[in-house]
């Protein structure tokens, strides 16, 4: 609405300017016209005066004045001059009679002074031709003539002898002591101007009115747009959840959007002279001032400034501020404008999340520690069990050995001395006791072997790994070299693809590759020549090594058990302890990898293990 009013003011102002211009132009034209008229009148008056003077002088010299008579002997000069004047004047009147005056009201007047009266000798206009009329010298009328008779020359606007206002030029006529006045009625000069003025005014007013209509027609939509924009931005500013504010360089709030009420409980601009800093927690003021300073110096916006504000009810709210310097038309900064985003809830949530995370990390750490402990215990368990089992085994085998020695001693004696011992004793001595001792021995031997295996396995989990770049090709070749005899015997073809260098534990890798290659050779099919291929698949994250053979293969049902401890599947015609794959699996797992097998019975097996690629250490470092 205010904008609309302003527009009308603007239109009014423009009208006034137009009118004022008109007046000025009119005034200048008026002045020029008056000056022109005056110049015309002066020209008439002066030319007439000079002509009359010339005639008078001529008359005096040639006809009427006795130039030969010495001055002292002439009669009274006044009479002479009077006579000459009368002559001259009669010529002038005669001349005037012969032409029309000028203008409608233009008149030429010639007058002299006689008996304190201005005596008009001639009055010549377009309408009138008069002679001899007089008015008193001290009258207010006929001022131009009075000036001419006072020997003055010039122009003026004044009353003529009839009392009407005239524009007149006056000029003295020297020789005859007369005055001449050329005058025109002022009304005649004014009239066309007044008429033209009125017409111009009327046209101007019409134009202004038309202009006004057009102005209204064009300006209204603009005004409406301005109003709409204003309304739009206002509603945007007042309805978004962000608080929008503006301050001057001293920190006084110039604008604060109504959102402030939601955030602070009041709108700071409702109070007179509220400082921005009075809204902020004391600890943050220095930081904020520094930020404003930086914003001022660098002329750059600052964003995501975390600041704590204090509400009316003394509660703390976290606002995230964006600050923009406000520049005036000269380009200097005269304040700041910005947005405040209430992040109190978010901060609270973040803190809660942080707490949860810390708690979770703590729990994970605790749990990891527990698991590690259990893991260690498991390894130690295998170790202790195997040791403690071995101890009684030493006793059993030891004393069995002792028994056998003693028994041998006894049986020798018995055979030598007790020839006629009962048949039963003989059987015991010759067969049963040695048989018993044999079985005890073989059982303990087997048990010892098992214990040894468990111990080896537990050692795989206890040995400390040393990670270094390991060339897999070297390891494969070394393993194959140790299997050279079998490879030649079974006419095995070995195909080796390009193999990578991996960062891993060398010994563990040797054991893994050695075991798998050993198995591949060991379990080849006797029906055909062996083919073993070794290749690597490298992806971004892991390296997979395949060791594939065309051997006897593994039945599908058995596949799941091949990695179990002491489990041996398939035909038992090859010596083995049922531990190799379990050991390999333990090593691969400790390296952080996985081992698997694809196999078809009587066609061959593909054992493959993958280990994560790492630049440095990888997997379990095994450092308990």
């Amino acid at each position: 609405m205010k904008e609309n009013k302003n527009l009308y003011w603007l239109a009014g102002l423009m009208s006034i300017v137009a009118l004022a211009t008109l007046v000025v132009v009119y005034f200048v034209l008026w002045q020029t016209a008056i000056a022109q008229k005056k110049a015309d009148l002066v020209h008439i008056a002066q030319s007439q005066a000079r002509l009359i003077e010339a005639i008078a002088r001529f008359d005096m010299r040639h006809n009427r004045v006795d130039w030969e008579t010495p001055i002292g002997e002439r009669g009274p000069t006044s009479l002479l001059s009077e006579r000459a004047g009368a002559d001259t004047f009669s010529q002038i009147v005669d001349a005037h009679k012969r032409y029309q005056g000028f203008g409608e009201t233009g008149e030429i007047l010639i007058a002299g002074i006689e008996d304190a009266q201005i005596l008009f000798l001639l009055r010549h206009g377009s309408q009138v031709f008069e002679e001899n009329k007089s008015i008193p010298l001290d009258s207010e009328l006929a001022e131009p003539m009075r000036r001419a008779l006072s020997n003055l020359s010039g122009t003026m606007i004044g009353l003529d002898y009839e009392g009407s206002e005239v524009l007149a030029a006056y000029e003295p006529i020297d020789v005859l002591n007369l005055g001449i006045v050329a005058k025109v009625n002022f009304d005649e000069v004014k009239q066309p101007f007044i008429k033209a003025g009125l017409i111009t005014l009327a046209i101007t007013v019409v134009i202004i009115l038309i202009g006004g209509v057009f102005f209204r027609y064009f300006a209204n939509p603009i005004a409406q747009q301005i109003i709409d924009n204003e309304r739009k931005f206002r509603s945007l500013v007042e309805n978004i959840s962000e608080w929008i504010w503006e301050i001057d360089l001293d920190g006084h709030l110039i604008y604060s959007s109504p959102q402030a009420i939601k955030i602070f409980g009041f709108n700071p601009t409702d109070k007179a002279e509220t400082s921005f800093y009075s809204l902020i927690q004391a600890e943050d003021i220095e930081m904020l001032q520094a930020s404003f300073e930086a914003c001022l110096v660098q002329r750059k916006s600052l964003s995501e400034l975390d600041c704590i504000f204090v509400t009316e009810s003394n509660q703390l709210v976290h606002l995230e501020l964006n600050i923009d310097p406000v520049t005036n038309s000269q380009g200097s900064v005269n304040g700041f404008r910005g947005i405040g985003h209430d992040v109190t809830e978010r901060v609270a949530k973040e803190q809660e999340l942080k707490r949860y995370r810390e708690n979770l990390e703590h729990m994970v750490a605790e749990r990891t520690e527990e698991l590690e402990q259990i893991n260690t215990e498991m390894r130690n368990f295998a170790y202790i069990i195997s040791h403690d089992l071995r101890s009684p085994l030493v006793s059993i085998t030891g004393f069995t050995g002792e028994l056998k020695e003693d028994f041998d001693l006894i049986s020798e004696c018995a055979i030598k001395k007790l020839v006629s011992c009962p048949q039963e004793v003989k059987e015991a001595l010759d067969e049963r006791i040695p048989e018993s001792i044999y079985f005890i021995n073989s059982a303990t031997e087997k048990m010892n072997h098992l214990i040894h295996s468990i111990l080896t396995l537990s050692r795989a989990g206890r040995r400390e790994f040393h990670f270094e770049p390991v060339n897999l090709a070297t390891i494969v070749n070394e393993s194959l070299a140790s299997l050279a005899y079998q490879i030649e015997q079974f006419k095995v073809t070995v195909k080796i693809d390009e193999l990578p260098t991996m960062v891993t534990d060398k010994l563990a890798m040797e054991q893994i590759v050695g075991n798998l290659l050993g198995n591949a050779v060991k379990y080849l099919s006797p029906d055909r020549n062996g083919v073993i291929s070794i290749r690597a698949e490298i992806t971004e994250y892991k390296t997979t090594i395949h060791i594939k053979d065309n051997g006897r293969g593994i039945a599908q049902a058995d596949l799941s058990r091949i990695f179990d401890l002491f489990k041996r599947v398939g035909a038992q015609d090859v010596v083995g302890d049922g531990m190799g794959l379990t050991y390999v699996q333990a090593l691969v797992r400790r390296l952080g990898g996985k081992i698997n097998c694809n196999s078809t019975l009587n066609e061959g097996s593909d054992f493959y293990f993958s280990i994560l690629n790492q630049d440095g250490a990888q997997g379990d470092k095994g450092n308990e």
Partner: protein, 146 residues
């Protein structure tokens, strides 16, 4: 050989083992006095004349055959204790154990044990090793204990 005044102290919690070792050492001709103790505590008491050994006879030369896995104070702790004391650090200590764990072997030698012998499970091997041990003991010059 002037090791006739050497006393062998065999420390093992398992009397079967002790007996077996003793029998085998005697069998291979070892004539020295052989003292059997069944725990680490007993050994310490014996060495330092405490409790039941408060009035033990003075010793000339001593060599200890020490098992590792024992309840109570184990062999490694005893080794550590004896080697740490000025009084007992020069007593030769042979570890005699069924453990072939590399870490334990390393630990014992770092604690300056004088030998590490594994008890084999197999009887013939056991006998052979005890024979060699006996010979090895006799081969050594043993310092005076006191």
């Amino acid at each position: 050989m002037n090791n006739s005044d050497l006393t062998l102290i065999l420390v093992d919690d398992d009397p079967a083992h002790s007996t077996l070792i003793k029998r085998n050492l005697i069998k291979c001709g070892l004539k020295n006095e052989l003292l059997l103790l069944n725990s680490g505590q007993q050994l310490l008491d014996y060495i330092f004349c405490k409790h039941q050994f408060i009035n033990r006879e003075p010793l000339q030369k001593v060599l200890i055959l020490l098992d590792i896995n024992m309840p109570g104070i184990n062999g490694i702790e005893i080794l550590k204790t004896l080697k740490a004391s000025n009084l007992t650090s020069k007593i030769p200590i042979f570890m005699l154990t069924s453990t072939d764990e590399p870490t334990e072997i390393e630990e014992c030698f770092s604690l300056v044990c004088n030998a590490y012998v594994i008890k084999p499970v197999e009887h013939k091997e056991f006998s052979k090793k005890m024979q060699q041990l006996g010979d090895f003991i006799m081969l050594n010059q043993i310092p005076q204990f006191l």
